[in-house]
Symmetry: C4
Subunit: 222 residues, 4 copies
Amino acid sequence: MDDHAFQTAGRADTGRAVAFSDAVFAIIITLLVLDLRPPDVEPGRLLSGLLQQWPTYLAYVTSYLYVGVVWTNHKATFKRIHWTDRGLHWANLGVLFTTALLPFPTAVISKTMSYGNLADERTAVGFYALIGALLCLSWLVFFHYLTRHRELVEKNVSERFFHDERKRAFTGVALYSLAGVLGSVTTPAVALAIFLLLPVFYGLTSEGLYELPILSHRLRSQ
Amino acid sequence: MDDHAFQTAGRADTGRAVAFSDAVFAIIITLLVLDLRPPDVEPGRLLSGLLQQWPTYLAYVTSYLYVGVVWTNHKATFKRIHWTDRGLHWANLGVLFTTALLPFPTAVISKTMSYGNLADERTAVGFYALIGALLCLSWLVFFHYLTRHRELVEKNVSERFFHDERKRAFTGVALYSLAGVLGSVTTPAVALAIFLLLPVFYGLTSEGLYELPILSHRLRSQ
Amino acid sequence: MDDHAFQTAGRADTGRAVAFSDAVFAIIITLLVLDLRPPDVEPGRLLSGLLQQWPTYLAYVTSYLYVGVVWTNHKATFKRIHWTDRGLHWANLGVLFTTALLPFPTAVISKTMSYGNLADERTAVGFYALIGALLCLSWLVFFHYLTRHRELVEKNVSERFFHDERKRAFTGVALYSLAGVLGSVTTPAVALAIFLLLPVFYGLTSEGLYELPILSHRLRSQ
Amino acid sequence: MDDHAFQTAGRADTGRAVAFSDAVFAIIITLLVLDLRPPDVEPGRLLSGLLQQWPTYLAYVTSYLYVGVVWTNHKATFKRIHWTDRGLHWANLGVLFTTALLPFPTAVISKTMSYGNLADERTAVGFYALIGALLCLSWLVFFHYLTRHRELVEKNVSERFFHDERKRAFTGVALYSLAGVLGSVTTPAVALAIFLLLPVFYGLTSEGLYELPILSHRLRSQ
């Protein structure tokens, strides 16, 4: 394809990739609402029926927050992308794929926690860690692709930006793997703590690592 | 981030936040259609089977109308926003979250009404009031954020506008709380009346309080 | 609101109303796919299990085609609209509401036809006629609103256009009502014939009545 | 309609057809996530319960990849379309219809493979081949329409492009039919091999046949 054709193609593409991603995120984020249903209880026991569904509520809230974090990260990333090509489309489809999986291990954990069997809790925690690591891995691939294809990136984005983003994604792969091992071998609570902290970390750094006050000083002084 | 980067970011952001919100609203508004299904009845009893599902129909219609009201309010609000930032994205995710919950308590109420147990009716009414109050609270946070971040608001929007919107949202928090208390303690019918009136109020004032003829005189003469 | 504010508002609004409608149509049109599932049969009986689900397939195909017809009509209509206001938003929400109902009576008919009880067939046919008439009624309201609010319509659209569209919608209300009465009193097959012909009629006239060769002569010679 | 009206219509239409298609693709691609649920097992047996669901995972992954392939093809095609008309809308609705069917035969195959009955495997394979052939047929119709309506195509697209795309689609119709016959008569594994190869072929040639290194030489030297 010649230069002009590439540009015509690219310009339209970012729009469609973003619109498609937004629709997928919107579906994922509202998917677990389907599990929120009036409990099947005998008359007079609605209140306890509603309260007993707490693992469903917990799964819904945590999935919602996590997908919200992914969405703000996705938005911040695509803001810095000017053209797309087929490779980036597939890297993006990878991110959407792993994000769409998130509600599944979340539901497994919340269901397992409601009856409390140690073997199952270890399985659930290991499963969640696996999907979490895959999610971060898909972002790692995405950012890596962008460091190799500078021509797709907006001009005013510094060379270092997507290199740092790779570190951010790699942190997740490492910590989820660690959480999976710790949670499966020792006590699942350790893993749960890491599971809760990681989305908070990604939420706070959705515009890049330099946003963290503690890091921005060191990065800027480099 | 410097001024230019902020503008580039902001301009794109409003579009994506709106597109994402529209997709979420579209999913919420059509979600209860999934509950509309041919009844499982013996041959010859289709008519009575269809009629017995009336609580489902009622829940569908009221949820649809309420989400329609939220959508027109959301549209009217974003029309007045020029830039978005991360804080506003999360405030918006809060509004989408509480709106997505709406069909759940609506279904609980309609199901409870179909067999009529006073304790359950009080629970259902209290539950609906809780979610309704949370919905208004999420709008209150959203409007409050805008009064504190004038730089995100369109220039031709008066300073007073989002201050008044906060009052509109606070009215909802107060009235839903009141309805919850009244409905749980006295008769649930009192709460249902408030539940029906509040969406009508928000539907009529989607472009702001000054639209109400009774208020527009007083507001304009100030 | 002053003239300038109205224009700023309107310009953005058409876009969001269209995007929101498209998302709703997309959900409705893919909703019945959820009913297409591997049959629960004993090993060796997959083929007969798949074949026995034919009413589900029929319901899926007819719903899909009908929603497709509504979408092309919606597109052709909004192409002729320049501004929107709150009244038109609610008229549009009415059209989306009745369209979202379509798969429900379609599923009821296809399920009823698979076991064949005359009383149930009459009920199913009457129910479908009711929803069909409501769908056309919602379009009638929509078109009527546009004839009363010329300022919302694109300048190059003739005065007569939405008057003719009203006739097109009224035809549907009348014929669905007739089909409902005929099908409930005499044989359901009469109603089914009308049910099949009406979407074809609306599909062929999605750009207006003058498209029908038989009518275009008469209309143009007026 | 006069020339000017056609242009106004066409320009808006491509946008809406694309937005609508993206929403439909987004729904199809996330549809099978609904089947990923915590298994109903006794305490202590979560791991084996999760592992036993492997046919569901396989169906999810393959459907996701295939819909991803269709989406990149759809994007590459619409990039080359300037105007749309009613015929093209219906051809597009045909492509969306057959794509939406894909998860169904995929689920049938994965479910059948998990218990292994030869007659059922042949049925499943024949069913998948039928839907696969229909999918390619809908693309064939789409591309054929574009070869007949050059006025809808972007000016810088060569005359030969959509002629070649027709060949690409016809290959699919022929190979799916062949796979269906072979798989139903001989061993299903032959069909599965073809099923796996075809999406890979379409994924690699989403921007046209000339992209394949082996073909680009011959085509360019013509």
